[in-house]
């Protein structure tokens, strides 16, 4: 565990009182995680970067509305989720959000024709994740990669815990069928 001289909750209190430097420190602690979350649900580096910037600006503007500093991370990811879906809606307003797919290809997240995941297993994982529905993929990203609890995921996604579990467990079943045999063969 990384020792932190100042806890996030202290920084949040200071930032909420207008402490710009405290907020800057919070940004530097969380920007990589938020960026990777957005990268995995949008499949595009530029979008993920722009959205990350917007997320922290919005977080700063609304920090005083955060009642419990201990809930900072789900609150921040809720903003990120809303920003990403707002972008999806703007780009394809007529489309059903369930049908929205990230821009990655079957060879991984593609930006300017370059693949992000060159290894065989990574390709298999990227492909398997891509075949999930956006809701299922986001549930996997939040649970497996970001380590949130069901209750926090429910807060981020704005849906009941039962829905979160249903999406995640369906996704895990699909991923298990595809990836467990590959991993067991020792592909890497």
């Amino acid at each position: 565990m990384i020792f932190r001289a100042v806890e996030d909750a202290d920084l949040i209190r200071r930032a909420a009182r207008g402490g710009v430097e405290a907020f800057n420190l919070l940004v530097s602690r969380w920007d990589k995680r938020v960026y990777n979350y957005l990268l995995r649900i949008t499949g595009n580096r530029e979008d993920a970067l722009d959205l990350t910037q917007d997320v922290f600006l919005k977080a700063y503007q609304n920090l005083r509305k955060l009642e419990d500093p201990a809930r900072f991370s789900p609150w921040l990811y809720r903003i990120a989720h809303n920003e990403a879906y707002s972008m999806f809606r703007k780009r394809r307003p007529e489309a059903d959000l369930d049908s929205l797919e990230p821009e990655g290809t079957e060879t991984g997240i593609a930006v300017g024709g370059s693949s992000v995941f060159p290894m065989e297993l990574s390709l298999a994982v990227a492909g398997a994740l891509e075949r999930l529905s956006p809701d299922q993929r986001e549930a996997v990203v939040l649970k497996i990669y970001q380590g949130f609890k069901f209750e926090e995921m429910s807060e981020i996604l704005g849906c009941p815990v039962s829905t979160v579990k249903s999406r995640l467990y369906t996704a895990l079943e699909l991923l298990k069928l595809e990836l467990a045999p590959v991993k067991a063969r020792g592909a890497s």
């Binding site: 207008g18 009642e67 467990a180």
Partner: protein, 190 residues
Amino acid sequence: MSCSPFDLKDYFLKELPEPEGRQVEAHVKTCQPCREELERLRLTQAALFSLRDEEIPQRIAFVSDKIFEPSRARRWWTAWAPSLAFATAALAVVAMVMRTVPATVSAPAAPPAPVVQTISDAEIQSRIDAAVSKAVAAQTTEVKSLVAELENTRRGLRLAAAEYELSQKRIGAVRLTAYSMPPEPLGEVK
């Protein structure tokens, strides 16, 4: 279908409370299908972890970044001040050169006209001199007036730039005050 007393995925994802978790552990020790299911979940998770987090391609801008930027008036002044100074200096040089012209023009008129010249020639010469002096004086006055006007404009621009900068500082101060306004009371940490 798992025969575990509680959901194996809940257990695997550490979402089960401690007592229930212990019951699952005890069950798994004696149940091979559940052990195999847990192993498949573990392999799946290990495969998913082969996708590493990426480094963020560029630093996210801090909210304080803009405060350190020079104001628009300062940027404008920095870009245009050298050109303006050069133009002013050039006009001043032109004005000085023009002021010296009457002296050189009137100098040849100083020597007295030869006796052999007729009065009418002298009169013509004096009329020419008078006309040249008048034209040069008019030109000099015009250049002086232009220089003075340019100087006034320059002062006006400086004043405007200073006022603009001051207003930008005031806006910045208002923003900072807004940032530093005491927030609504935060809730207690649970």
